[in-house]
């Protein structure tokens, strides 16, 4: 049996070395200061503009349709959107078509509320964020498309109470809220195909603007909807979240994470190049030997 050349041996190196390289790059990047410049792209600007130019008296419907797996990329989006709305005094109604999304939404809205109220105390501002006035959490309902269509007719037919058992008619936020006509926009933060359902069953029939936040791997499939205007804006992955943080002047987890993501992307590109160079050199070397 012929001895393998150096390139073939390089290509067959133990993959644990690659894992180690990635771990080192990510850890070192996370220790560095978040000094990466983030260029804001058109899908994110459109996303921001829809919220920023909407009537602040009309609530935003925020669907947290993600399990914990999607959180590293999607959590900064939820935090950013809540901060943006609370800053401009726009109420937010949180729902979930995915059961685990409820606990995530509850934790994050409490976190943003506490942060906002702490800053208000420090700044001596009287305004506070309150449940029932600035936000409401309705919880989970099974049935994807049936829930989305139901919300277009009357929210009270889908949810009679909020997550804590209070009748919707007793919550100030719902005094004039009934359906998508009273909604500034629908935001779906998702790691599955729910954004397409929102386009089909809310955006299409009722004309409410649909904004989508998704993982980077899902983002390319929504560009077609973005181009036709069926989606009014798109946040794709950690980069989309970092761009949004830049627009709302609220650097957070995504801005921080972009350093690690930059390091990881550069490493992957380097590995692709090295792998291809070694592959062709190995092939040339074998041909020459023959």
């Amino acid at each position: 049996m012929a001895q393998k050349n150096i390139f073939a041996r390089f290509l067959e190196m133990d993959r644990r070395w690659l894992f180690l390289a990635l771990a080192v790059v990510v850890i070192v990047a996370l220790l560095l200061p978040p000094a990466i410049g983030v260029r804001v792209t058109s899908p994110v600007t459109r996303f921001f503009d829809v919220i920023d130019t909407s009537d602040p008296d009309k609530p935003l419907l925020l669907a947290v349709d993600t399990p914990p797996s999607g959180l590293p990329e999607l959590e900064p989006m939820i935090v950013g959107i809540l901060s943006h709305c609370f800053d401009r005094g726009q109420p937010v109604i949180l729902i979930s078509l995915q059961m685990e999304g409820v606990s995530i939404a509850e934790r994050l809205v409490a976190q943003v509320q506490d942060e906002f109220n702490r800053r208000a105390v420090e700044a001596g501002v009287e305004r506070r964020i309150r449940m029932g006035e600035d936000w409401a959490l309705l919880g989970y309902r099974a049935g994807f498309s049936a829930v989305i269509l139901g919300l277009g007719d009357e929210v009270r037919k889908v949810y009679t109470t909020d997550l804590y058992g209070t009748q919707l008619d007793e919550i100030p936020l719902f005094a004039d809220y009934h359906n998508y006509d009273d909604t500034a926009a629908v935001v779906d933060i998702s790691w599955s195909s729910t954004p397409e359902l929102w386009v089909q069953f809310a955006g299409g029939p009722y004309g409410v603007p649909i904004l989508v936040g998704c993982t980077a791997v899902s983002a390319p499939q929504y560009y077609a909807y973005l181009q036709t205007g069926q989606m009014s804006g798109l946040l794709g992955g950690l980069k989309g979240a970092a761009e949004y943080e830049k627009l709302i002047s609220h650097p957070g987890l995504a801005t921080r994470g972009m350093v690690a993501q930059t390091g990881a992307h550069l490493l992957v590109v380097l590995l692709i190049l090295l792998g291809n160079v070694a592959f062709f050199l190995d092939r040339m070397s074998r041909k020459r030997r023959k």
């Binding site: 993959r15 934790r107 049935g143 049936a146």
Partner: protein, 202 residues
């Protein structure tokens, strides 16, 4: 008769579901709302079906002691304990259920998803080869998009956006239209009783 009644129900309900989008008469719309309520109730039953299937599959592997059956025990125990804890002490903020969710389930699921990065790194080195013209095109597009998503250069960002909006948008639209037509064809086959596999047996 046992087969004809379900076929008639599917025909009537399917046809009504499609037409109710276009007929704005109050009677039709009221009935449509009623059907949406039924749909949500049926969807809730699917959850029970999922739980039964989960317990059956894991239980069977556990009792037969197939290789790795210890993981099935962990799955069933985790499911039962979270259900018990949630039912007894509630699921609100500050409860044991929430502590377990935030401090065990969230990091575990996030870790599983993050592990993908390691496999992508390994695959990019071993499998992503410019073996043909098509593969080279794909590779070049992937490298540009990966760099364009993280590096702050005007020209690179422009090319990245163009790749995502034009060639990618066109390909995605083709897929979406194809899937849409397929869904319409399947729905028509079911409504008209041509496709009957959902009845079982055949």
């Amino acid at each position: 008769m046992r087969r004809q009644i379900p076929l008639v129900i599917v025909f009537v309900v399917g046809l009504f579901g499609a037409l109710s989008y276009f007929i704005m008469e109050p009677v039709i719309q009221d009935l449509r709302e009623q059907m949406l309520t039924w749909l949500r109730i049926i969807a809730a039953f699917a959850l029970g079906l999922g739980i039964a299937s989960f317990l059956r599959n894991h239980g069977r592997r556990m009792t037969r002691q197939v290789p790795g059956w210890g993981f099935n025990v962990v799955a069933i125990l985790s499911f039962l304990s979270m259900t018990f804890i949630g039912l007894v002490w509630g699921i609100e903020e500050g409860t044991l259920f929430r502590e377990l969710f935030d401090n065990a389930q969230v990091p575990m699921e996030a870790t599983m998803f993050s592990l993908l990065a390691f496999f992508i790194a390994s695959a990019s080195f071993r499998a992503f080869r410019a073996r043909s013209k098509e593969a080279t095109l794909l590779l070049a597009a992937a490298v540009i998009v990966m760099l364009g998503r993280v590096l702050d250069f005007d020209w690179l960002s422009g090319i990245t956006e163009w790749i995502l909006e034009v060639p990618n948008g066109a390909a995605q639209r083709g897929i979406i239209i194809g899937v849409g037509l397929g869904m319409i064809a399947t729905a028509l086959r079911i409504i008209l009783g041509i496709e009957r596999s959902y009845l079982g047996g055949e």
